[in-house]
Symmetry: C2
Subunit: 370 residues, 2 copies
């Protein structure tokens, strides 16, 4: 009876804890709906992606069906990503070069490349769900999912040659490709750090920053810079747009850390507290280990000690409690806001027309609203 009573108390505490945590989440609601605000751009991006994939057929047709499924292109109203990276690229191009049609293959390439990394990340992280449906490996198994990710990698590069048809010069295309390939390698380095950090207890904020700058900010930076590379040969402008993307990418990952730690599964489309369960080194955690009161920090280190098994519900609840108590959640939110504001101030400083500038601002505010 005692055991049963204790279980029940834990359950109630757990529910209360989750309620307390989720009650703060409306702060994250997007002020504008990206799908409405940028509906023409999104339609153009998805049509371009479809035409890159749709050219393929033959005996391996089911491979392309796997890709369409993962990309959310298999069903007009189906769940899909927010297409933030290609949107940012198109808006960056528009701010410098006007009509964005010429840049569409670049936008499709960056979204395909991003999704190659998602397909592999889902296997690496053991995630069975994304965007409220089963991940590719959860349906087709790990061997075919690894292969489907590789195919997306190859397709993302093949999309880029379509830029030549629009009149992009060979030199610009090569400059863009080189940035893209360097970014893919940075992505792998960031992923390497992310995975190996799971087995390390003492990961500081500095190591965390290097990890997310490679894992997330590099591709968002490259997506925006690609828009600039297609519009101008001026290296200073490239650098400004890349910096804008980097700040935004850091903000994005920090906000995503808050999501993966404190959001419910219903709100995030991912397993609840999935980052905690796998002992991912997110900003709230690495900051709390450095800044929480001694007893809390010691307890966190013990909860986060490398282990084969994911965290239990009770451990998740205890961790959440410590993170809220020591101010780690507030800190992560305010850091996300700070990097977002740095991105916004770069946008405000651009010497471009006011309409594309406003659109860039709108998108950034819609994506990161901590």
């Amino acid at each position: 009876m005692l055991g049963h009573g204790a279980d029940q108390n834990l359950l109630i505490a757990s529910i209360m804890m989750r309620r307390m945590v989720t009650s703060l989440e409306p702060l994250y609601a997007s002020p504008v709906d990206i799908r409405t605000e940028f509906s023409r751009e999104l339609t153009d991006i998805e049509n371009e992606m479809r035409s890159v994939i749709g050219e393929r057929d033959g005996q391996a047709r089911e491979l392309y069906e796997q890709l369409s499924y993962h990309l959310g292109l298999d069903n007009a109203d189906g769940p899909r990503g927010k297409r933030i990276r290609p949107l940012l690229g198109l808006l960056a191009y528009r701010s410098l070069g006007g009509d964005y049609d010429l840049a569409l293959p670049g936008a499709a390439a960056v979204e395909l490349g991003h999704n190659f990394s998602l397909v592999h990340d889902d296997i690496e992280d053991g995630d069975r769900e994304r965007r409220h449906r089963p991940t590719l490996w959860a349906i087709w198994g790990i061997p075919l999912a690894i292969n489907a990710g590789d195919a997306l990698f190859a397709l993302s590069r093949l999309a880029l040659y379509r830029l030549l048809d629009g009149g992009v010069s060979e030199g610009r295309l090569l400059a863009l490709m080189r940035r893209y390939d360097e970014t893919c390698l940075a992505l792998c380095e960031g992923q390497f750090l992310d995975i190996t950090f799971e087995q390390q207890t003492d990961v500081g904020v500095a190591a965390y920053m290097e990890m997310i700058s490679k894992k997330t900010a590099a591709l968002i930076g490259a997506a925006i810079e690609a828009g600039a590379i297609l519009a101008t040969d001026d290296p200073e402008i490239h650098a400004t747009y890349r910096e804008l993307g980097n700040e935004l990418g850091l903000a994005f990952q920090m906000a995503d850390d808050v999501k993966g730690t404190f959001w419910s599964s219903e709100q995030s489309g991912k397993p609840e507290a999935g980052d905690l369960r796998r002992r991912k080194k997110t900003l709230p955690i690495v900051w709390a280990m450095e800044h929480a009161a001694e007893a809390d920090a010691a307890r966190l280190r013990s909860l986060y000690a490398p282990a084969e098994e994911p965290m239990s519900d009770a451990q998740v609840d205890e961790t959440l409690e410590i993170l809220v108590r020591c101010g780690a959640r507030d800190h992560a939110q305010s850091e996300a806001r700070r990097y977002r504001d740095r991105a916004l101030s770069i946008i405000d400083g651009l010497s471009v027309d006011s309409e594309p500038q406003r659109q860039l601002r709108t998108l950034v505010e819609a994506v990161i609203n901590p």
Copy 2:
């Protein structure tokens, strides 16, 4: 006692079967030692690969150690691949363009790209051993191995920009890259077919040919064609070299099928009869199902019916017996020889100097000697 005696009889039969099979293998011994014949070329290729990888460092250093391990670059005398693809590319370039220094980055790229696919194949096939040592995933686990393969993919592309330093024009580099990216996609289609065929009983010789032309011949074809692309803009010459590579690639895969079916682990560096155990659709199998006597074909179909478990030793022995009896092994060997001879006759027809022509011939004969 009866059970025990039956087991022992099976064991003896199994050993005799393997002896019978392996007694024919000296046929496959290489007439020349590639490492001696092409020692300068191999040193140059491996130095180029080392310098592509060696530029990287920082917190993710261990990632590059994983790559060096897989590539056999971690130890001067360690086991490594035969570097057939980059060697073929260099010899193709030399036959048209003289000194091959300019083409080295292309050779390194093709070997890095080939190894990206090997790292992922080893996971997809569950192979724990390659070149007589543990595979990357068997040491570092699947998540880091998927990521290491991705890093090799990115590095193989980054190697290509080094061609610009040697004076290759932007147009030629883009032509080469496009072929390379198309080839990577073909590789994924071939791998898709290879994996899905494991769960199908009725795979005919025609479907098998499509699978290996994508899985294997495409990259060998592209490696040789790349040498031609770097040497000349003549599309007819590109096509001739590609065809040479395709014929050779088909021969190579057929010979590899014989190896994966009939060779001992000691000779192949891979798990003994690994292709059989996983019910891979190799040439001996698909041919036997179409050509063996009715009873044997029916038994093969039953042994090869999709199953979760790999084949037992007794099933492997029975399958081997059927394959030898119906002539499937002899047929696979003679098909490998036929395609190799087609490649040799293309080499003989090239309008090039006799020394590079002889070297191409020597390499082909060393690689495929069925």
